[in-house]
Amino acid sequence: MATSEKVPAELLLAAQRTYEQARWRGALVVAWFAIPMAIVAVRGGATLFWASVNAIALMAVSAVFLWRGGAYGAAVLPGVISGAIPYLTPLLLGQRVSAIGQGNCWQTAVTLFFATGLVAGWIFSGFVFRQHAGQRSFLFAGCTVALLTGLFGCVSGGAMAVFGMLSGFAVFTAPAYLRVPSLRA
């Protein structure tokens, strides 16, 4: 029988199990945000198939990062905020985005989503430099979430739009990734 001062070993084991279950529960409750985002993206011109695939990927990735916690979990919200720029673009421009992607104006699609990726990358790198610890983990997790969020929007503009967004996003986040070891030291 346990004494009054010492924590029983079975409590520690049970607490570890309970803690992990609680973290998963909290993560899964939050990760559902991807579903309404997918619905809105479909209304903005994204195909149901790609929006569903992207939503499942975003949900899974967000749930894992939130469960993991620390810098990974802290990066989910900034990732969503950053990715909101390319995500919202088709909603603001309406059907013109899918017309651009489906037509011959792929340069327009690339340029447009390069710009949105640029803004998203700039916003996200700002979050990275506010982070005190675990910048690499934060960068990795946030970039993944931001790109999956942005994909909802630029997938309606086609493959070239996706390429544009990725390129724009990398302009700011790649230097951040290179700077991060010096910041951590």
Binding site: S4, V7, Y19, V30, G70
Partner: protein, 192 residues
């Protein structure tokens, strides 16, 4: 998003200087190494409160374990502005009340159970035992006051009232009569 924060604070290097609140915040942010120190720092405080409430070390251990497990289970709903020690103690107080109610009900059921074991059925042995029990009960009732006997006979007839007496009065009389019956039975036949 209770488990998400944009700004994760700097790692605290001297772990022995952490307060329970700091351990809890680290745990909320996902630092698994904060779980054991948090439980170790909360256990004695919560256990002391539980022991004062139930006065039984075994029950106090159970209450403390239950309270700390419930605290950990609700980690995704933890409000950082709330004191973790106060929260743990609140859960322990609630658990103590549950344990006390449960022991009280167990004690009452044990007392009532000795009266309700009436053997019934077509088995000859059962009917002999049943008759013996009825004779014994009749003897004990004769030794009691007329008012007590009236109430107990009404219950044996599966009636929940006596004419001229309201429900609350009937129940009070029944409670007193049952206590006197137990005392009379023990005096006549012992505890078995």
């Amino acid at each position: 998003m209770g488990a998400v924060s944009i700004d994760s604070s700097p790692a605290i290097t001297k772990s022995e200087e952490c307060t329970p609140q700091e351990w809890m915040l680290r745990l909320v942010r996902g630092d698994r190494s904060a779980l054991t120190p948090l439980l170790e720092v909360l256990w004695p405080r919560v256990h002391a409160v539980a022991l004062r409430l139930v006065r039984n070390p075994a029950d106090a251990d159970d209450i403390t374990q239950e309270a700390l497990l419930k605290l950990v289970a609700q980690i995704d709903q933890f409000d950082p502005s709330r004191e973790v020690v106060g929260w743990a103690i609140t859960i322990a107080v609630y658990e103590s009340k549950t344990v006390r109610k449960r022991s009280l009900r167990r004690r009452e059921a044990a007392l009532e159970g000795t009266e309700e074991r009436v053997v019934s059925g077509d088995d000859p042995e059962h009917s002999v035992l049943s008759q013996e029990l009825e004779r014994t009960l009749a003897d004990v009732l004769q030794a009691m006051s007329p008012a007590d006997a009236e109430v107990l006979r009404a219950v044996l007839r599966e009636e929940r009232f006596i004419e001229g007496i309201n429900g609350a009065t009937f129940r009070k009389r029944l409670q007193r009569a049952a206590e006197r019956l137990r005392a009379a039975w023990r005096a006549a036949y012992g505890d078995e």
